[in-house]
Symmetry: C2
Amino acid sequence: MRAEAAYAELIAHFRELAVLESCEDLLGWDEETYMPPRGVEHRGNQLALLAGMTHDRLTHPRVGELLADLAHADLVQELHSVPETNVRELRRLYTRAIRLPRLLVEEITRTTCLAQQAWTVAYRKSDFPSFQPWLEKIVVLMRQQADALGYATVAYDALLDEYEPGARSDQLADLFAALRKELVPLANHLTAVRRRPNGAILRRAFPVDRQRQFAQRVALAIGFDFQRGRLDSTTHPFCMTIGPHDCRITTRYDQGFCDAFFGMLHELGHGLYEQGLDPDHYGTPMGESGSVGVHESQARLWENTIGRSLSFWQYFYPALQEAFPESLRDVGLDEFHLAINNVEATPVRVGSDEVTYNLHVMLRFELEQALLKGDLPVSDLPGAWNEAYRHYLGITPKNDREGCLQDSHWSEGIIGYFPTYTLGNIMAAQLFARAQKDLGDLDAAFGRGDFTGLLGWLRAKVHRHGQRYSATELIEAATGSPPDHCHLIGALRRRYGELYGLAEC
Amino acid sequence: MRAEAAYAELIAHFRELAVLESCEDLLGWDEETYMPPRGVEHRGNQLALLAGMTHDRLTHPRVGELLADLAHADLVQELHSVPETNVRELRRLYTRAIRLPRLLVEEITRTTCLAQQAWTVAYRKSDFPSFQPWLEKIVVLMRQQADALGYATVAYDALLDEYEPGARSDQLADLFAALRKELVPLANHLTAVRRRPNGAILRRAFPVDRQRQFAQRVALAIGFDFQRGRLDSTTHPFCMTIGPHDCRITTRYDQGFCDAFFGMLHELGHGLYEQGLDPDHYGTPMGESGSVGVHESQARLWENTIGRSLSFWQYFYPALQEAFPESLRDVGLDEFHLAINNVEATPVRVGSDEVTYNLHVMLRFELEQALLKGDLPVSDLPGAWNEAYRHYLGITPKNDREGCLQDSHWSEGIIGYFPTYTLGNIMAAQLFARAQKDLGDLDAAFGRGDFTGLLGWLRAKVHRHGQRYSATELIEAATGSPPDHCHLIGALRRRYGELYGLAEC
């Protein structure tokens, strides 16, 4: 078979598969947003059926034949070309998939669908024991998944590779240790400083309807295309793409203004990345997002680097005051800006400050490795979680709702994902530093409400490349040097040094 | 193969097919409720893919083999037993389906998906020309569908049979002519009478938020299970079942209180039927609703027979007044009750009164037959529509939005459905007359807000039977006699005679 024909058949196959998978995505979105409670069992059946069908198509022997036909074709010789990118990444996908038995895939889908409902209830009631059997089942299934996928020395790496291709847990552990060494003194420095933000202003009344309107307004102003997307509310914020022109983000409004607003900005960053992918390549690696770490870099960039900057609020704060006059009439911009940059050891990751955030991530990274390895029985998780918070952040969650039940990830069968948040922070800082070099005074633009320059830069340097590059290659191509945590530490020192009036910290 | 094994395989096959079809249903629901505008093209691809897959499964040769194995099996000898019902109706479904080429099915799905969006825009702008090419395409496709399905003498009957198995357009034409003969004088009588309802009170301010709350409250009180369902708003009201415990209804709030409330009650009737089906038989004919006419009978029963009765409002009117004190404080129950039973020739079917409603249906029945036959070019539809309204109701719609664009049916490829509304009215009146005989004073129960007696009767006599009986058999089993339009005429004469203070009309 001629390589061109094999390539065309491969692409057509995967484009159709993407359409089928996008039906699963809608089922998942609906489950979290609008599905009636008792719809859950049937939803499990729907998702299991589609997951089995997509797995069959992904692992169809014809895919293996086509990939074999293309192994040495001229078509795929040029590194980072469209065909080379597509064939390389589809091969990776296929190779992982054929290692997973269909029955295991269906079992994971069914279990996690039900487990998410159990988690929602457990979370509301802060009732870990009701969730424990589900998590136990999920840990067993994840071990089976890792075994099926195979790994060099550590089972965890098989799961991690799903989210961050090529990453290894021992290397991450080293990187995190280095980061931690600089972060902990910085956090201690900032929490000990005399100038304290007035956090109480953020706990005043912010009626949900007006928060919703304000969030929509900011998302629109930044560049989220509501003709091609939505913003809803769910128990846990997320971003889900249903099609090339249909990307949906959510946030939650039941845990205060900052949680809702910065949760929205985080998902907005994911959404802008998804909306920036090339729709002509939809359903193929060239039109799909890169590693989870790269995705997180986009989310954290808008949430923190931009969303907590003074220039951002120079533009948006008057509108915020106007939306919530009862609560903010007497609060100046500087006071507000300091309050949203309060560095403080708190129990909940989402909504925690930029500095301590990475410590939340590191302890999850350790705990999920221990769970998978079997060193930590699920029944001991609440205790181990609380112990880790004492050790890393010097605090104890007051219940499991603000403790080990706070994130939905594990209920979704997502283990090996957490470290990508910190990788994302590192990449975000590095990308932003370079964008500033290329584009000049970004703060002046933000102060005018102009985000088009930066968004355009991200579109060109990150979004449009899809999976052309690995995360490391992408950062090197965009910034001129490989990922390096010094940009993150440097940015944090600058922002918080200024904010808290320290010459150096 | 033993018949028991063949039957089990057949049922398993169709249960899985139902799960797959229910994914299509969610895609359809989302398209109407929450999908971002530019998601439409991909939604067409998703629906086309799933429609092709479900068609393949429905028409799989194995189904034909299993049905052949079961043709003379002892298992299916007992008329109206579960196996006989399931095999009979699956055979009907299969026989129709194998006559439809897959490419045609996919083309219809794709076209109607895009046509619905075009209709939504055309409807908003009252712009028939922008919708015309879509309707032309749909008429051609529907003709192809009728030809593929086959028919004795009239192509229309092939489409009608999809909604009302066994019905024939010439017989319906006779039935409708007989009904019309009694309806037209009744309508003339009522519109000429001196006592005029004060329709203006219904056009006062009814803020949408409070309408939404009131609608939810009524739906709940009547017996709609919100653990197993939802109520949303869409351009055109509908009811969609996503799973055995997930039934979603919608209404619209942009065209006045009556349109919204009675639209909701109509869909609620559909929803109660769906929620009353036996979930253990989900995915098989025993657990699925009967003919569209039977479905409509349930919708019209709650919308009109009950929803426009005095006793219903004796219970709910105080709550309505409390919800809208600005508009209803000075309006007594009798005045309100008369206003919602205003008999008047109006251009819009949804929200028209019980008496003239059937005339709206009859003219659509005639027009869609003419469209399909080719006697009426689509470009002439607006003129023909307006002419029919002059002829049947003595009025002229002031634009196409309240004229031939008012219903979404044709944009969805639904031709042959309209007559089932009037069939539904006939059956609703007959069922209600029998329920009153069996249960005693229903008005007293409604006046106390107790709908459980009637709902239980409908569950037992109609809902739980699924497709056990044909529409005619079902009515005969439930009421003791075959469908007869005298119950409808009798009920209308009684209600409106009393309301308008006539001894007889």
